[in-house]
Structures are given as C-alpha cells and as structure tokens.
C-alpha cells in the first residue's frame, strides 16, 4: 500500500493524480490552502473507493515555517511516507512582476523557495528511511529565460536545478527524484489563455504521465513527451539570436 503526500492538492493536475493513485489503492494526505475544496476532493476520493485513507491539511505553502509540521502530520496520518508530490504554484503576471519587486519576490517565494524548503525536508526524511520517491512539478518555462515570463521561468528553473542536485545526492540512497516538466496544460492556472491548437494537454493526460513517472522512478520527464523535442530545439538556439526572438 502506497502512502502519498501531495502539496498543492487542489491543483487540477495534482487532483487528477490523486484520483489515479486512489484508484490504485494508495492512501493519501492532501495539503492545500482552500479547506472547503480540500474536503470536496477528499469526499470525492472516498466515494470512489480506492485507498482506505484520505486525510487533508490546510496550509499556505508560501509560509515555509509550517512545512516540517505538515510532514509530521502526514506521517502520523498515513503511518509513513512513500511518495511526495509537490505541485502548488502560481503563474504571476510578468508585467506586474516588472513593475513591482514585491510581486516578483512573492512569485519566487511560492514557486521556488517553498519548493526548496519542502524538497529539503522530504529528502531528509526519505533519505533516513532509505526508500521513496520525491516528485515535483517544474515546467518547460524553466528551461530558458524569456521576456514573456522569466520570473515564473526563473523560479521553475531553480526548482529543476535543485531537483537535479537532489537526484544526484540521493541516487544511491534508495530515493528517486522525479522532475516533471509539463508544457501547456488546460487548468485554472491558464484560464486566461486561448486554448486552441495541438499543444494543449488536459490535466488528466499530464497526471497519467506523472503517475507513470513515479512508478518508473524516472528522472526528468516532459509531459506530453513531444515537449522534449521542442525544448531541445529552444535550448539550442544561440543566445545572440534568441535574445531577439519573441517566444
């Protein structure tokens, strides 16, 4: 029986992962900041059956001081932790970040520093246990800095690099570290985007990829997979050309 903790469980992608893991019989500990919605998610999972335990905890994850207690609560509720998924996030308005340093720093706090905190705590606990999987959602946006969203991109880039280091540190400690890099996903985060075209994936499609990546203990996974090729090309455009592009 797998015991899974999800940070940012109300995210559309994370909620879809929860349904899939629940259907496989996993026990879940869901963390988010919107209590009624967390309860709604938990109720839904209980009706669907699956795991025998679904517990929830409310917390603003930008506040890193509460993180350690959340791991304690999860361990108490589930009797241990096998998998950690970190999924919360915001997509800040780039222009607003340029105009206000506070907005930019807030975005970095939620999307990068809170991940550093959660990842460090998760790594230490699972390393001590000698087993487990840590999975975090980064983004293709973290692969290269672009004028349209470099604050968000930089935060995700930090997450990707941090995960790489952690993977290296834990490689022979029995703990797998999985980096998820979704492309465009149709979720509330991208509500204001026009979603025509072939590049958009559903939250459930991405969730399926995440569940599979965790099971395989994969390293870095682009979801859907074709983003690997797109980002390969984008990463290899020389900077002197790239700096003039509008992507």
């Amino acid at each position: 029986m797998q015991r899974i903790v999800i940070f940012g469980a109300t995210s559309a992608i994370a909620a879809a992962c929860a349904r899939r893991w629940n259907a496989l019989g996993a026990n879940l500990f869901l963390v988010g900041r919107d209590t009624p919605r967390l309860e709604t998610l938990a109720e839904d999972l209980r009706v669907r059956g699956g795991g025998s335990k679904v517990a929830v905890a409310s917390a603003d994850l930008a506040d890193t001081s509460g993180h350690d207690a959340l791991f304690d609560a999860a361990e108490a509720a589930l009797g241990g932790i096998d998998v950690v998924l970190i999924a919360h996030g915001t997509l800040p308005d780039q222009a607003a970040c340029e105009a206000s340093l506070d907005t930019a720093m807030e975005a970095i706090q939620v999307n990068a520093l809170s991940y550093v905190s959660l990842l460090t705590l998760a790594a230490n606990r699972l390393e001590a246990k000698g087993d487990g999987v840590i999975c975090a959602i980064s983004s293709v946006a973290g692969d290269r800095g672009r004028k349209s969203n470099y604050v968000y991109g930089a935060a995700k880039g930090m997450v990707s690099l941090f995960l790489g280091g952690l993977r290296n540190r834990l490689a022979d400690k029995g703990v797998a570290v999985v980096t998820i890099k979704p492309g465009f996903v149709d979720t509330p985060m991208t509500a204001s985007f026009d979603k025509g075209g072939l590049l958009w994936a559903s939250a459930d499609t991405v969730a399926k990829g995440i569940v599979s990546a965790v099971k395989r203990r994969a390293d870095v996974v682009y979801l859907p997979g074709f983003w690997w090729l797109i980002m390969f090309i984008i990463r290899h455009i020389p900077e002197r050309i790239f700096k003039r592009l509008s992507l």
């Binding site: 559309a12 919605r37 709604t40 839904d44 009706v47 669907r48």
Partner: protein, 431 residues
C-alpha cells in the same frame, strides 16, 4: 469565445467562458448574463448565451456521497452520466433514466429534464432527483427537495439553466444484476405495424424505442424496427464486451448526409439481419449506439444540422405521426436517426419539462437553409394542429408561437428566473 452545441448551430460568440470547478465559490460579479454549460449535448441554443458568460461545469465533477446499500448518489452537477455509470454499475446500480448518450452532465440532464426509453414506466430524469442545491446570483443557496422549496425544484427541473447554477444533486439509482440487457428487435412494415407492436410489448419491457425509416413512402411509410429491452437477470456467464470508439476524422465542407446516402442507409438498416428472438446485449450499444463514434456530429458538415423533436397527444398521435412522416419522406431530406416512442402518462415535474403523454418523434436534418426551414414550418403546422409540443433541448429555430404552445407554463416560470441568468434560446423565444 465560441462554444458550440452538439448540432453546431447557431454559431455565437461569448464574452467570457469560465471553467467552473469550485461549487463553494460565489458566482462572478458583473452585469453580464450568465448561463451554465455542461457537455453541450443539446441540439441548439439552450446551452448558449451570445454576448454573455458561460460557466462550463465539466470540471465541477466531484462525488459527494454514495450509499451502495440504498443506491443514493450525491454528486456535483458537472459529473457526466458516463462517470456515474463507471462508478455505480460495477456496484450493481444503474441510472433510473438515461438519454441516448452518456456524455451529458448531471446538471444538463436535470435542466432539460431528459427522458429515455423507459419514460412509460419511470418518467423523466427529474422524477429521480431527491435533492439539489441551486446557487443564485444574490449568493443564496436554495436546497430543494420534493418536500422543501418544491416550487424551486419544479422550476429548476427542466428549467433550461435559467433559475441559477445547480451546484450538486442527489439522485436515486435503480439496482441491476450486471451491465447486460435482454433485448428483442422486431421489424414493422409501416406505421400500423408500429402501433400494433407498441400495444403488444409496452407492458413487457421497461425500455422501448423504434427506429423509423424516414425515407420510405406510400404503403411503407413509417416502417422500422422496434427495439425493446430490460436489464438482464443474474447469470454466471456473461459475454465479453470491449468498448471501441473511433473519432469521426474530419470536417467535410458539406453534409455527407444527402438524399443518396440517406436512401441507401435507410434501406440497408431496415433490411439488416436481426437476431432471432430474445438476445443478450451489452447496455452500451443498447442505450448509446451513437457513443460508438466520437464527434459523429461532424458528418453533417460545417453548416451543422438541426434536430426536430415533437410530442403529440395520444388522441392525435396516429394521424399526426403519419402526417409528419409524409411531409418528411416527401421532402427528401432527413436522417438515419429517426426515432419514435410512446411516452407514458406520468406527469412531468418541471414547469417547462417536455414529456407529456403521447407519441414523440425525433430526427436530424442537415442544414440546407431555406429548404429545411420550409419543411420545419410544415411540420410545426402539423404539431400545432395536433396540440403537440416541441422540445427546447433539441431546438435552434422554433418561432415564439411554438414555444408558447410547447411550454404553456412559461409565464409562471419567469418568476423563478435568476435576474443574472439568460440564454440565447430564452431571448430568441420570448423577446
């Protein structure tokens, strides 16, 4: 943003399309008109709101409670009937009433008070709603049951989404032993044959429906196949069933349904070999033959199509259906999906609900512009003379006069409309 209904008509632009996933949230502020939109399986503009805001409910899809001992299910309104079957069927429960596709939401099924092949014994979907919550734009949440806030329940069932947002609903399911049906297919050579069959088997089977050849004329007018079934009893060995649903691959520039393909199909379908006697059939092909090809609506081409569904009271059914089929077969336009069924006399719960006792005929027509509208005017005249009604869920063109005949309680209903809610349909037939 453009969102279309199943028949891809009319084409309208919306100011905002919001994916509504949180049932606890308040409705958006503003002056614009709101309308819930489920899976857009209506054939017309009841689910559209030109220039206004659509609240797409599909992401509001959480179950709230299911008692597997009693078959009571409470779920958010964006849950689809397919989701419900996937959950409850393996646990021995089935929908009390189901339309001809599973890809409709709970909210949509209530707002159109949909019916199925078992109307004569089970009534409409709304008859099985034991409780629902209605969110009004003033922030009020009205919990309605058959005992409490009954008037709001009667306005909201069949209320075309105009009374507010249904956030969740509770329904009573029916027990079944397995996913299979015991079915029988009986060919009839003309309309007289249909009436004779209907009288003979109605009592024996809870599910009855007929496919009619809408091309056949003269002495063969109204020939077709009577399809009946009931849930299969427990059995040790069941046949296997794997669902395959290819997607209709492209948008033809014109309708692939034309008089040539129509004739060929109807003749072939009428003469297709039928299994002799009683057979065991999986419930999906029995209830949802059209779910077998995803996006089949594209077959009618970019111009879209219409569905015409009416009900005629028992006294005028025989002559009226004959007159309708005469005009349709004479017009050379029509579909392979002509469906004829007798509604029973269970009174509908909703103020605007469509089903009333009598014969209901439903069929698709490719959009051929004026030619199609001329035919509809002729059909309207027959329906009006018979004292019949049209189904708003299947309408993109009825004149205001036909609407008033079809929903005679519409004025009483207006008191329950949420001031922030409206639809393209409502404005078309009342303004």
């Amino acid at each position: 943003m453009s969102v279309t209904s199943w028949n891809r008509l009319p084409r309208v632009e919306h100011d905002r399309v919001i994916d509504w996933s949180n049932r606890h949230a308040e409705l958006p502020d503003g002056e614009d008109k709101l309308l819930a939109h489920g899976l857009g399986r209506s054939y017309g503009d009841v689910c559209l709101n030109e220039g206004g805001t659509l609240l797409r409910t599909r992401a509001m899809d959480h179950y709230i409670a299911f008692d597997r001992a009693t078959g009571r299910l409470r779920a958010e309104a964006g849950v689809s009937l397919k989701d419900i079957l996937d959950l409850v069927l393996p646990q021995g429960w089935f929908l009390p009433v189901t339309p001809g596709t599973r890809y409709v939401t709970l909210g949509g099924a209530i707002a159109n008070d949909v019916h199925g092949k078992n109307h004569h014994v089970m009534g409409n979907f709304g008859h099985h709603v034991t409780r629902l919550e209605l969110l009004r734009s003033d922030g009020q949440r009205v919990e309605c049951t058959p005992e409490q806030n009954t008037d709001w329940l009667e306005a909201t069932i069949g209320g075309l989404g105009l009374t507010g947002l249904i956030t969740w609903a509770e329904i009573q399911l029916v027990p079944v032993a397995n996913p299979f049906m015991v079915v029988e297919n009986i060919r009839f050579r003309n309309l007289d044959g249909f009436w004779a069959q209907d009288a003979a088997v109605d009592a024996e089977y809870p599910y009855t429906v007929s496919w009619v050849d809408c091309v056949a004329s003269g002495r063969q007018r109204g020939r077709g196949i009577f399809m009946v079934g009931r849930h299969a009893p427990p059995q040790a060995d069941l046949p296997g069933h794997t669902e395959r649903a290819p997607t209709f691959p492209f948008d033809p520039p014109f309708s692939l349904i034309n008089s040539l393909s129509l004739n060929a199909f109807n003749v072939a379908y009428y003469h297709r070999p039928l299994p002799k006697g009683i057979a065991l059939q999986h419930h999906v092909p029995f209830f949802y033959p059209l779910d077998g090809v995803r996006e089949w609506n594209r077959v009618y081409g970019r111009r879209g199509f219409y569905q015409y569904q009416c009900v005629l009271p028992p006294e005028t059914s025989r002559a009226g259906i004959d007159a309708l089929l005469e005009r349709i077969s004479g017009s050379g336009t029509g579909s392979f999906l002509a469906v004829l069924k007798m509604f029973g006399d269970i009174p509908s719960r909703g103020m605007l609900s469509f089903p009333t006792a009598g014969a209901t005929l439903a069929l698709d027509f490719p959009n051929l512009g004026d030619r199609t509208h001329k035919l509809f005017a002729e059909l309207d005249a027959v329906v009006r003379d018979c004292g019949g009604r049209l189904y708003p869920a299947k309408d993109a063109r009825m004149p205001a006069e036909m609407f008033r005949l079809s929903c005679p309680r519409w004025e009483e209903f207006t008191a329950f409309i949420d001031p922030r809610f409206s639809s393209s349909f409502w404005r078309r037939v009342t303004e």
